[in-house]
Symmetry: C2
Subunit: 328 residues, 2 copies
């Protein structure tokens, strides 16, 4: 067995805790530290012995860490942390603001390259595994169309939007793919689908005392950008029901490529995820890519990269010969 | 637009014709020649202008070919051709005798490496895309189980076995995945499944004049290795029906990974193919990997490789920056 890969976590929210759990499932890795903005004494790692430090002390631990997994958010944390930490560590992050990926890539690439580090950005399932399947689909069936459906899943952004409506005490929002739309795509029909055709939205709302349910519902379903372009259902529930039935963070979705290899023959490729915990799954993907980051860096491949640049074999604990024998 | 990738085809059966069709869908590639054992004058390429040569003349065309796609069979053609041609060309093949892959890999690797060539072996969908999904599944969800189901699809080997039964004039065999087994796996149950649980077999048989249908059926369903371990249905049809309804070569299947990221949360990843033409789809995969072989060779990466060694981005006609912007 080769030497253990020493992993550290920067940011200890749902994603950071998911990474901690995922490392337990990978016997070639050791968690050497958790770095958080919060007081280390206030954190309770899964294993009592795991060292916990302040985020600011990270730079002092460079020699002890093979790969640092960045578990901060794409809005406020990663734009600053990513470039800064890629100068000091091999990193993996889940930067997921699709429109800003080219800019983020450039910002991380320069310091990583200048310091001989490898930075895997935008790892997870979308961006990440879904992106890979969009790429494979296009490359393998160039004459065709790609469809991405999300859900059933809890959407943080839309749940936040619901909670900002006056009269809403608490609430969650689920994105649901349209079964009819998926069936049409699966059947090889290659339909033109509007936003409303592809997904519906379902809200579970706890009202504040005395709030007007009809007004709240109207405010939600007509909200521009978030709900106006969708068929949205609003369900009113009590707080106990919300706590009991809606605390999980399920998600998932489908990437379907439908294409023709000749005038006579259509082909359909489908990839789907059904996730009971979105953050734990994303974390598990980050950890597999941490293995790849470590290996790429040892091969001298530096700079920013995405899932598109990582040969699948680099993700596996198994040797290339073992993979050929067992999985090919 | 960079220079066209010059592709040649060795072997002009169903797979070779599929490669020819696939090249038409990839504007960065040019088909520079078809090499066949048959008399060149007897072949009719899709485009009248495509040069057709005898297979024996291949060595003389080294300078004109960037990647040679080997379209021969795994039993009789590739074990000899693969190693021999990998010394002269960058190659892509669909060697699919799973048990002999390590041996074939070694036989191709040495000549390719010695001559600065890149040889991608065992490309297609199984081995190939299904292998990739087995690998991704294991790496992303290490604590879980992987299930591969094939079909609905026409099986050449089993169709041949049916046709060898005395009294059978013609026939085909379809492999069908069990919908019940797939549902159990999708639901995250992680069942132990026997051979009989996973697939059923369905035969369509044309009897010879005067043959005993009951005897033929018994001979088929009790045939060791091929049918005895499965629930097999035999349908007797007339020759016109066989020609009308059973001339296509559909196939497909499912790779499902079901795993836990923690004691509380299960996750399911599913990949599936629904193919109207097995040879055309396999050919389309070979052609995308030919692009990767060309690029890998230009990067100086020589020797035998499999789909496990190929970074996904190398398959796409798009630049890395374009991929990040459009597909990530």
């Amino acid at each position: 067995m080769s030497k253990q890969i020493r992993i550290a976590i920067a940011g200890y929210g749902n994603l950071g805790r998911g990474v901690e759990a995922a490392i337990e499932k990978n016997p070639d890795m050791t968690l050497v530290g958790i770095f958080s903005r919060r007081d280390p004494a206030s954190l309770q790692p899964l294993r009592a012995g795991t060292p916990v430090h302040r985020l600011e002390s990270l730079a002092a631990h460079g020699e002890a860490i093979d790969v640092l997994i960045l578990c901060g958010g794409s809005k406020d944390d990663l734009p600053a942390q990513g470039p800064q930490l890629a100068a000091l560590f091999n990193t993996v992050d889940s930067f997921d603001t699709h429109a800003r990926i080219p800019e983020y890539f450039a910002a991380v690439d320069a310091p990583a390259r200048a310091n001989g580090k490898t930075a895997l950005i935008s790892i997870g399932w979308d961006p990440g595994l879904f992106s890979l399947n969009r790429l494979y689909g296009e490359a393998l069936l160039p004459d065709g169309a790609t469809y991405t459906f999300w859900g059933k899943g809890l959407s943080q952004g839309h749940s936040d939007a619901v909670r900002r409506v006056p009269g809403v005490k608490a609430g969650v929002q689920y994105t649901l793919p349209s079964p009819q739309a998926i069936e049409r795509v699966r059947a090889g029909e290659r339909p033109q689908l509007s936003t409303r055709d592809k997904h519906t939205r379902e809200c579970f709302v706890v009202l504040e005392e005395g709030a007007d349910a009809a007004a709240v519902e109207r405010a939600i379903v007509t909200m521009p950008d978030y709900f106006a372009d969708y068929d949205t259902t609003v369900n009113f529930i009590d707080e106990a029901t919300l706590m009991r039935d809606h605390r999980r963070m399920p998600h998932g979705g489908f990437v379907i490529r439908s294409g023709n290899t000749s005038a006579e023959h259509a082909q359909v490729i489908e990839y789907s995820l059904q996730l009971e915990s979105n953050p734990e799954f994303t974390a598990s993907v980050l950890v597999a890519y941490a293995r790849a980051a470590y290996r790429l860096n040892r091969q001298g491949q530096c700079g920013a990269m995405t899932a598109f640049d990582v040969a699948p074999g680099l993700l596996s604990i198994k040797s290339p010969a073992q993979l050929r024998e067992e999985l090919l």
